[in-house]
Symmetry: C2
Subunit: 328 residues, 2 copies
Amino acid sequence: MSIRIGILGYGNLGRGVECAVRQNPDMELKAVFTRRDPQNVEILTDSARVCGISRVKEWRDRIDVLILCGGSATDLPQQTPEYAKMFHVVDSFDTHARIPEHFANVDASAKEAGKVAVISAGWDPGMFSLNRMYASAILPEGRDYTFWGRGVSQGHSDAIRRVLGVKDGKQYTIPVESALEAVRNGENPELTARQKHTRECFVVLEDGADAAKVEEEIRTMPDYFSDYDTTVHFISQEELKRDHSEIPHGGFVLRSGVTGWEKEHSHLIEYSLKLDSNPEFTSSIIAAYARAAYRLAMEGQSGCKTVFDIAPAYLSPKSGEELRKTML
Amino acid sequence: MSIRIGILGYGNLGRGVECAVRQNPDMELKAVFTRRDPQNVEILTDSARVCGISRVKEWRDRIDVLILCGGSATDLPQQTPEYAKMFHVVDSFDTHARIPEHFANVDASAKEAGKVAVISAGWDPGMFSLNRMYASAILPEGRDYTFWGRGVSQGHSDAIRRVLGVKDGKQYTIPVESALEAVRNGENPELTARQKHTRECFVVLEDGADAAKVEEEIRTMPDYFSDYDTTVHFISQEELKRDHSEIPHGGFVLRSGVTGWEKEHSHLIEYSLKLDSNPEFTSSIIAAYARAAYRLAMEGQSGCKTVFDIAPAYLSPKSGEELRKTML
């Protein structure tokens, strides 16, 4: 009777989904598919199998929703359309600029196969998008602001680690408190990248590397750091491991807008997240949308959906009656 | 081509809807229906008519969505089922305990007539409910907290004004900052009514009234004040008018929850509103749900819906394609 889940890709996100499935009594993890040798992949769920990725199609009748936990750069653009031919799927594709193209590809596959595919289920894109959309529909005359952090940016951490002389490193994106306050005060500020976020780097040097040179190279790196006030701290590998092993994140979506015949009243809508583990929180959202995908499929729907297209009630294990009674 | 709107009931909420319709270029206000003598009701929209409530049915073919702006105590339980027989309707019914019953009555009428009826569209119930529901679906193991204020409670202001010796008065509900902070810190506190909110009253006395007696009567009033720390300020009618004529409100919905195999990671989801005008903000939500009701009706749907049942995209004037491109 439970929703049978498969996970494709067993990194931080895949492990997060495994944990999330365990917290949802109406779901059951059946199998994890990996590109690695299954013999070498240890999962947490005793009752689930670990299989090579080539065996996915054998599970067509034993899995209801396949959750795709690959990367957005190269994995998902290929995997989501491919597996939407065999399964109802959910991904957390997060390359904002390429969403329209990804949607079109996935929609074509899923429609042809009569499957439901939910893409970009996470917190940004995902919950942040939902909040931007609800707020702009409610307050048509207003301004949106999104701030990220304090949290680890994987892309910026990778960029640091590519600098010559850097052994390891981690980057935190930090919202500028005074900018947030200006938005909350209804000042509708125009904010540059530099005015919205600062960047803080914790760097482990290679033996004999020139700290001043590394710092200069990081701070002036185009796209990643040159448009921001960036602080670089040099620490030991032990300190990095001890103090910076977690993957926290979060952020703020705000909309400030006006109402009234003469636009005389101001309003502020704010949504914020403070997350100990970015991948586990993302996974928890994915699990809720896996439930939605399953239910939409049971109703005979098909095609690609985003958070905008799915009525909130589909995410909850409670019935409409229970929701109205306890949560409305 | 625009959505033709009617408003039934022209108090603060009705006027708010009139203003909201003006901010939405795809909507047009056609008529306001009132129980008062239409001759004595001045509205703001030149192009709209003011009619007596008995004439509503003559507008069946000239209005797409009728917005019901009466009170939840006695108006809406009767009006929403009645007018759902003739129009697609939206109300902001806010008596939480009676929502299941109201839903059932409205659903029966609307289904029989093939109309769409959206009930309880506002911010609580409404946006706060949505946020409670999304957050609990994402973090199944966690705790919800709702705080209201700082804002004017109409019910408590009315209660003050019924006290002997009180000429006029206004009550503000204020969240306790330290309780909010404890929730934000993930302490998952058990909070009594007194620990969550304080109440602040601004009271104008009748000539010769006994201030100490009035204060005592307010502070010990069961249901309304006795369970709270209540402050009573005596001010003049002029001061009340000058400083307390507006109807601000707001509040906070928080969910604190855990993820991870050993529940080792904590997360906080927070949604908050800071509103200069409670009725105008509620009206803005209603307008967005009027758009949703119209679109659902165009798709051939019928019956009673709440915010839980309506996919977010229906609220926005943007197409699915535009939304994915600009907001996801």
